[in-house]
């Protein structure tokens, strides 16, 4: 049974300075779980990618609100959802291909590939003109088993 044991919600404007704030907030929210350093770093990286996508792509020529929520489940897994009401993605499958980018030369086109590598599951739903929602799921192994 995957019951929610804790949850949080936050929202912030899509300013690039908030990328660091967002991953820091997720990290702080999960610290009570006493996660492994590597697991936490993986999730922080994935959150950073998702929020950067909202800042760079979702709200391409504008500043909008990024909605982020996180849930901790009884089995030790975590969901982090990053949602924007920006331009949306025409072709989600194509956007998720490694090296595909619409962000110009300085973007590596690796955002979704990194999320998929560093998380157990990545769910993307998007509607052009309405926005994009990315849900990252990761199981965090605890340092002390059985406590």
């Amino acid at each position: 049974m995957r019951a929610v044991v804790n949850r949080m919600k936050m929202q912030f404007p899509s300013l690039s300075v908030n990328e660091g704030f967002a991953r820091g907030a997720v990290s702080a929210f999960l610290l009570g779980l006493d996660p492994l350093v590597n697991d936490l770093a993986d999730l922080k990286t994935a959150v950073s990618e998702a929020v950067t996508n909202a800042v760079v792509h979702g709200y391409r020529d504008t500043v909008g609100i990024v909605y982020m929520s996180a849930k901790i489940f009884s089995d030790g897994s975590v969901d982090v959802k990053v949602r924007d009401k920006g331009c949306g993605i025409e072709d989600v499958e194509k956007a998720m291909e490694p090296l595909f980018t619409t962000g110009g030369e300085e973007r590596a086109g690796l955002g979704f590939a990194v999320m998929q590598t560093f998380c157990d599951r990545v769910k993307v739903t998007s509607a052009p003109g309405k926005g994009t929602s990315v849900t990252l799921t990761k199981r965090l192994s605890q340092k002390r088993d059985g406590e």
Partner: protein
């Protein structure tokens, strides 16, 4: 890290004057910015025998990479070093923006047949580098002591 007056940070985030005004005087928020934000991102450039070393420190995300890129490019275009050594030993966190930063510099240096060397990667950063295949375009140095815990 020297304690900066809050107004200095306000100037840095000139693109967000409205939000800054709301937070002015709340040193607690300034503290969070320093701890989690990319405000701590720093760059030290050194030139020696045609090799330019860019020692990066702090988190490298899209926000920080944009500023670092400008500074490196401005210097590199002037001196045209044959090698750009990017030292990540004081970088605790990096996302794919860091890969974009490296690849962009590879492209720039190739304009005058220069090359890029990457050093001081933490295990986390190394995973990111392997995932991106950036090692095929740069030389990744081993054995460099990490200066910060990842």
């Amino acid at each position: 890290m020297k304690n900066k007056a809050p107004t200095e940070i306000g100037k840095k985030y000139g693109q967000a004057p409205v939000y800054w005004k709301q937070m002015r005087g709340l040193s607690f928020f300034a503290h969070i910015f320093k701890k989690f934000g990319s405000d701590t991102m720093n760059l030290r450039l050194e030139l020696k025998n045609g090799t330019m070393t860019a020692a990066l420190s702090g988190d490298i995300d899209h926000h920080a990479a944009a500023r670092v890129r400008e500074e490196i490019d401005r210097a590199a275009e002037q001196v045209r070093p044959h090698t750009l050594r990017m030292d990540f030993s004081s970088v605790p966190f990096m996302d794919s923006s860091g890969i974009g930063l490296i690849l962009g510099r590879v492209r720039l240096l190739s304009l005058w047949q220069g090359g890029v060397t990457v050093s001081g990667l933490s295990p986390q950063l190394r995973r990111m580098a392997e995932l991106s295949g950036v090692g095929r375009l740069t030389k990744i140095e081993d054995g460099n002591e990490r200066k910060v815990e990842a």
